[in-house]
Amino acid sequence: MSAIAAEHLTKRYGELAAVDDISFEVPAGQFVAVLGPNGAGKTTTLEMLEGFTAPTAGTIRVLGADPRRGGRRWRARIGLVLQSTSLDAELTVAATLGLYGQLYPDPRPVGEVLELVDLAGDAQTRVGVLSGGQRRRVDVAIAVIGRPDVLFLDEPTTGLDPEARRRTWAGITDLTVTGTTVVLTTHYIEEADNLADRVLVLAGGGIIADATPHELRTRGGASSVRFPLPEPRLAASLPAALAAHVSPDGRTLVIRDGDVTAALRELMGWADAHRLDLTGIEVGPPSLEEAYLAAAGGSLALETSSHA
């Protein structure tokens, strides 16, 4: 049986369908990333799965129970990181975790959780003086202290610097080896690519793609060649077959279809003639971002980690 099952899930606010008749199942132990632009229905879906919001129509089962009716025992098996940090500033990190830990039948030791989220050095620091990234990791620590079977993470790394984000990823990755089912909403495609077994892409309240990151990339098209041109003026000297693939700003050569080997041969000849090295060249399947944009019809603006 699945850890999570949603059937014909719908949430309407007046005329607006925030989530529009979506169905999916998540097997136990799977890590699912939910991607989509603002207003796609990611958080509304998550809030229905967590039991905060009642669906207008459809059914949800999380660990075999309706989240709206889940009692203490059910909640003891669920961990969640809300979209915004919600902690009392006055307590220390260790005291906060100790307080939450005692709610569970078999909590992880506070020290172990602090190690997991890389906050061992801040155990006696008041939450109120932590940085935004550190507070977010306290959120993650609270979510995992009860050894949850299902973990809901709503944009857990939004606003974190790249280093803090990678530390948080490492902590979350460690959880997956214990068989925890994870549902993550994120704006960062790189995050989904690094962590998830499966990606659900939402847009306009519906699921427009449901695949593994690899499958999604494959759907995004054939292998491609990407080369950042050292100078935009060099585009003029490219052979005609390559020049047609230069981006409008003249900075990048992107060849998404055709014979990759032939394109590389031409590119190497051109670089040799102009005494340029090909530092920065990338050859491979489309990035998950390109695949995402292809799945979404290329019309959706999604943040990438490089914009963060």
């Binding site: 049986m1 632009p37 075999g64 203490r72 025992r73 915004s84 005692q102």
Partner: protein, 278 residues
């Protein structure tokens, strides 16, 4: 494993509710101790008013000391409790607790009990200041006999404040809303000084509000006359029972979401307003 998860772990016994309630009371009490405004309003302000008033006009006597003690108690149980509750709801702290495996009544009760203990202690500190600076005296026996009334009064105000918090939309409106409803009640009840010449209907009304019964009881203890009054205890008990019943029925865990956010989203589905789920 019926749902493919660690079912063996799932059936370990949950911690008992009494332990969780005690932990919640301790936690909320520590938060109050660590909140400077709670200390200033509950303890600092009444003691300063008492000492300054004493310096200007000489000892104000039992009625003044009782009034200032109840001022600290009610400011803590009404204003501090209510404003902090609204802030916790707005910040999503209540939502996080609602999602935790804690019986909802444990959080609710823990918060009210901790506030009541803090408010009672604040009143006792002011009484001590009255003994030290105002020349009133209070025996250990009288202190013990007045304690249940202080606790009952604190519970009544905290319960009423919890009810009030459910209709205050956010922190921006919290202080004005709580202070505007607070001062008329405490002024007609004689918290900030004994009244004289007020109409009969007003004195009758004040006797059924939750401030005057506490002032009267503390005043009797300071004047060394019998403390017990069935009327005062019944009024306070009624406020506690009705207040807790209404508060538990109306308690809101979720932050207030203005309706205009939804309409904004309908017009611009790609632009999510702050705090609005996507």
């Amino acid at each position: 494993m019926p749902d493919g998860t660690r079912a063996a772990d799932a059936w370990r016994p949950l911690p008992n509710a009494a332990t969780l309630l005690a932990a919640q009371v301790g936690y909320q009490f520590r938060l109050l101790l660590a909140t400077p405004s709670a200390l200033v309003i509950g303890v600092g302000l009444p003691v300063v008013l008492l000492v300054v008033g004493n310096a200007r006009h000489g000892g104000g006597g039992a009625a003044n000391v009782a009034g200032y003690a109840v001022f600290g108690l009610t400011m803590t149980a009404w204003n501090t409790h209510g404003v902090r509750l609204v802030a916790a709801r707005e910040l999503g702290i209540l939502r996080r607790w609602r999602a935790a495996p804690l019986p909802p009544w444990c959080y609710f009760a823990g918060r009210i009990i901790a506030t009541s203990l803090f408010a009672t202690l604040a009143a006792l500190v002011t009484l001590l200041a009255g003994v030290l600076f105002d020349g009133v005296s209070l025996s250990a026996g009288a202190t013990l006999s007045v304690l249940p009334v202080l606790v009952l009064g604190s519970l009544a105000w905290a319960a009423a404040s919890t009810v009030m918090s459910s209709v205050v939309p956010g922190t921006g409106a919290a202080s004005p809303a709580f202070l505007l409803t607070y001062f008329p009640v405490v002024l007609v009840s004689g918290v900030l000084g004994p009244l004289s010449g007020e109409p009969h209907w007003l004195t009758t009304l004040a006797s059924y509000l939750p401030a005057e019964p506490v002032i009267d009881t503390v005043g009797r203890a300071l004047r060394h006359v019998p403390v017990f009054s069935a009327h005062d205890l019944l009024v306070l008990a009624a406020w506690v029972i009705v207040g807790l019943a209404v508060a538990s029925a109306r308690f809101r865990w979720e932050p207030y979401r203005p309706a205009q956010h939804r309409s904004a989203r309908q017009h611009h589905p790609q632009e999510r307003p702050a705090g609005q789920p996507g």
